[in-house]
């Protein structure tokens, strides 16, 4: 759907995106990176608002820059949301429908459908200036999806949403992804992205650090020990058993006396061993988890190592 082929974008002496090659398929893809990583630059290259300095960006096989026809297939939901405060949400979405080339009746119909889909039907006749952040996000999404685009780009869409709103928003994005659309979501709130998709593009200082399935990326970093935390009242007994396992690299007692943190080079084998520890050897384990199983840690691994 979207292809980047050695795409770079310079702003004078400042590099925004550096030699990025990637293919973004249908479904939800997360664009991850810290501030200044190049997420917005990448989105603007895809939406045709910037021209790559070198390389190429293709959307449906065509370069989007200066090609408004391709915008018919793109819905863009920028991070900013303080425009057209004097309009009501419905007026704004309808106006965007007219901009997309629809006649009045069709624009109104599509706007009403899109507003309904983002759950704003009961509040869309109030001026945008009175909207909460979450309501603005929804209205922005409504304008991005009203023309049924194949590609929807969302810049930090979860900012300002309450937990229920986030859940609904994520569910909606998931639905759109299942409908065959390519959804690109930029974010630096990694745990939220993790709940949306496992397909990521990880940017750092303009470079594409990693792309693909989160688990595949995780495999790449498996040469680094994987941390696992175990909660138990029998810390010493559990530690003694674990120390005998050949793939355990280190063990450390928690300060609270009720936890252990270990490092292993073979997390899958370790997870397989846990039932035996409990059932066969009668050890009591209250819980376990890994701080390395989220995107935050993946990001840090890739950036720091």
């Amino acid at each position: 759907m979207i292809t980047l082929n050695h795409a770079s974008r310079w702003y004078g002496q400042v590099i925004g995106l550096n030699d990025v090659t990637a293919v973004i398929p249908t479904g939800v893809t997360a664009l991850l990176g810290q501030n200044g990583a190049g997420k917005s630059t990448l989105m603007r290259l895809i939406t045709g608002q910037l021209k790559p300095t070198t390389g190429e960006v293709l959307v449906r096989g065509e370069a989007p820059f200066g090609n408004p026809e391709i915008y018919r297939y793109i819905g863009y939901c920028p991070e900013i949301d303080n425009f057209y405060e004097y309009m009501t949400g419905r007026q704004f979405v309808r106006h965007m429908g007219r901009l997309a080339g629809y006649g009045r009746t069709e624009a109104n119909r599509r706007a009403d459908l899109a507003i309904d889909r983002v759950g704003m039907s009961d509040r869309c006749d109030r001026p945008i200036k009175g909207y909460s952040k979450g309501m603005r996000q929804r209205i922005k999404l409504a304008q991005a999806m009203l023309h049924d685009p194949e590609i929807i780009l969302l810049d930090e869409p979860l900012n300002g949403l309450d937990p229920v709103g986030r859940r609904e928003f994520m569910d909606l994005l998931g639905q759109l992804g299942h409908e065959g659309k390519a959804i690109v979501v930029s974010s630096h709130i990694l745990f939220e992205v993790e709940q949306m998709t496992r397909s990521i593009l990880l940017l750092h200082r303009g470079r594409l650090l990693a792309s693909g399935d989160l688990r595949a990326i995780r495999d790449l970093i498996d040469k680094y020990p994987h941390r696992i935390t175990i909660e138990t009242e029998q810390t010493r007994e559990v530690a003694a058993r674990l120390a005998a396992l050949p793939y355990i690299v280190s063990l450390e007692f928690g300060r609270d006396g009720r936890s252990l943190e270990l490092k292993t080079r073979e997390p899958d084998r370790f997870y397989d061993e846990i039932p035996h520890l409990v059932l066969d050897q009668g050890l009591s384990i209250d819980g376990f988890g890994s701080p390395d199983n989220n995107l935050e840690s993946v990001f840090h691994y890739l950036v720091e190592n």
Binding site: Q49, G75, Y76, N82, Y102, R110, G180
Partner: protein, 320 residues
């Protein structure tokens, strides 16, 4: 399109797409936004004050002509109405309306692009099937159309009232083309004001700042031309001369207000305004320039500002 793609024939994008006129959607939005403001109608009404004054005066003189018991008063009243040059009345109306046209232009256009710059709304606009040119044309028309309406309404109202009521006093006979000249004049003036305000708007991120700078340009240039007008009038009076040198004329008309008055003089074919009993004429006493001079000047200034706007309009801030 190149490369195989999944079957996307179920897409519904094309359903209901009737046109590519994104500029019209933007223009209509701008037009509606402006005409919904009370201030627009208040300023439009205020810009027509001179026409109202003239109509009241003519009405009073008509009543005198019809009802006065003194024949001399009746004759004077009829003479007054008969000797009115209606194009001069309109020239005065245009001249006195300039300040209101400025305020109308600022209301309609100062924030048109500046506010979009501030809020980065261009990101949304330009991610739709809407080119930069669509955006500019739409914004331009969104300011131009309300301005034409505001300029034309008082003139057309005056014209039709005059045509109905004062045809016996030569209203239609004096200039049969007046009905065409009025919309032409309104469109030229509106286009000029629109281009100036929109060009300034594109240079700033705040509508108020763009408006303040536009107003400053208007008032500063106007101050010098009024001053120059006074000097010219005083000089002519001292020398009992009615001729004014071309450089002085050019300087006199070298303001936003001046260019529009010069254009109005050229189109209406009058060198000065005023009523037979001595209306305000100081700033209209300088002879007209050939019409092509103010038109060319307007075109160059408007073109330059629109070129600036075109260069400034972009969806993203580029870090230098």
């Amino acid at each position: 399109m190149s490369g195989p793609l999944a079957d996307l024939s179920y897409r519904h994008y094309a359903d209901g797409v009737v046109n590519d006129r994104a500029w019209w959607a933007i223009a209509r939005n701008g037009f509606r936004g402006t005409v919904k403001k009370k201030g627009f109608w208040v300023l439009t009404a205020m810009s027509s004050w001179w026409y109202a004054v003239v109509l009241v005066m003519v009405y009073v003189f008509e009543q005198i002509a019809a009802n006065s018991i003194r024949q001399q008063a009746q004759d004077r009243a009829v003479d007054f109405i008969s000797s009115i040059t209606w194009n001069r009345v309109i020239l005065d109306g245009v001249s006195f309306g300039q300040i209101f046209y400025l305020f109308l232009a600022l209301m309609a256009g100062a924030g048109a692009i500046a506010n979009d710059n501030r809020t980065n709304a261009l990101l949304v606009y330009l991610s739709k099937p809407c080119t930069k040119m669509d955006y500019l044309i739409g914004k331009w028309l969104g300011v131009f159309l309300p301005l034409v309406l505001a300029m034309l309404l008082p003139q057309v109202g005056f014209f039709f009232y005059g045509a109905m009521s004062y045809h016996d006093y030569g209203f239609l006979r004096q200039d049969p083309w007046l009905v065409l000249k009025l919309p032409l004049l309104a469109m030229i003036m509106a286009a000029f004001y629109t281009s100036i305000v929109l060009g300034m708007s594109s240079l700033f991120n705040q509508g108020r700042l763009a408006g303040a700078i536009s107003a400053a340009i208007y008032f500063i240039t106007n101050f010098f031309t009024v001053l120059l007008g006074g000097i010219i009038a005083a000089g002519a009076s001292m020398e009992s001369s009615t001729t004014v040198s071309t450089p002085l004329k050019l300087a006199f008309y070298g303001s936003v207000d001046g260019i529009m008055i010069a254009t109005a003089k050229g189109i209406l074919g009058e060198d000065q305004g005023g009523l037979p009993l001595g209306g305000p004429q100081n700033n209209l006493s300088v002879p007209a320039l050939p019409l092509w001079v103010p038109l060319l000047f307007s075109l160059v200034v408007a073109g330059l500002l629109l070129f600036l706007a075109h260069a400034r309009v972009r969806a993203v801030e580029v870090v230098k």
